[in-house]
Symmetry: C2
Subunit: 135 residues, 2 copies
DNA sequence: CTGGGTGCAAACTCTTTGCATTCGG
DNA sequence: CCGAATGCAAAGAGTTTGCACCCAG
């Protein structure tokens, strides 16, 4: 019938907002710490359900497992190549990018995702310090 | 010492060019069909090596396993949401996209990847035919 | 009550690793 | 020859699934 509200779902959603773009396993870690009875299978099932019903986004970034994002607005991500931290970046609507490719190879393009890579503030600072060390 | 040229590497590279953005497992399938003695581990090791030495790119697209692409120029991909086919799309250098985000959340952005989703020509045609069926 | 949701454990898929053996240069 | 590369099989990691039991509505 209708979707049922359960303790597990509440806890898992809480983990989603408390953690930063977590993987399913990270969500499981958070949840299991507080509510050891919640099983891994439930975490995967519930996260998958969130993604299906639009309550969360599955984020698949280069080099990592699937991550989940409770922010379901259209946006893109920055990925720190050192510590792996992921941050949201707003996706402007006037993105002048789809147009040039609209008929790329005959494909009918419906959507587009952009991903950035670089250094997060912390790692950027650290790398500057390293390079400042006198020889 | 120096990297060694082997029969396996040649075969695996051949698979890479013969197949279209294959996953490691697809490469293994192709290779194993012709040269049953080549092991799965070798396929994974060699593909990883290609990626490390710049002979191929690892492509991680939403919803699929890692794929390999012998085209190592900077470019992006279109992904058919029906059949999963992947095609290359040129990545223009004047992409006016990185600039607006250069300081996104304090990140120092170094690279950017763009991914498109849609319908490949075949699937687009089929979906039109379906919708044309009289009720 | 009833059937959607859950826990558990086993199964699966993809990928990596240790180690003895092979073979390219 | 010598060590990089391979084959094999076992181990890992992440995720899915079957099934009996549980509990939200």
């Amino acid at each position: 019938m209708r979707e049922r509200q359960t303790r597990q779902k509440r806890i898992i959603y809480e983990a989603l907002t408390a953690l930063d773009h977590p993987t399913a396993t990270e969500v499981y870690g958070y949840v299991h710490e507080r509510y050891p009875s919640v099983s891994r299978a439930t975490v995967f099932r519930v996260l998958g359900g969130f993604a299906d019903t639009g309550k969360a986004l599955e984020v698949r970034m280069a080099g990592t497992d699937v991550r989940y994002d409770y922010n379901v607005r259209k946006h893109c991500h920055v990925h720190c190549r050192v510590c792996g931290r992921v941050a949201d970046v707003p996706m402007p609507e006037n993105l002048p990018i789809a147009a040039p490719f609209e008929n790329a190879d005959g494909f009918r393009i419906e959507d587009c995702s952009v991903e950035f890579f670089g250094l997060c503030p912390d790692c950027a600072r650290k790398s500057e310090q390293v390079s400042r060390i006198p020889s």
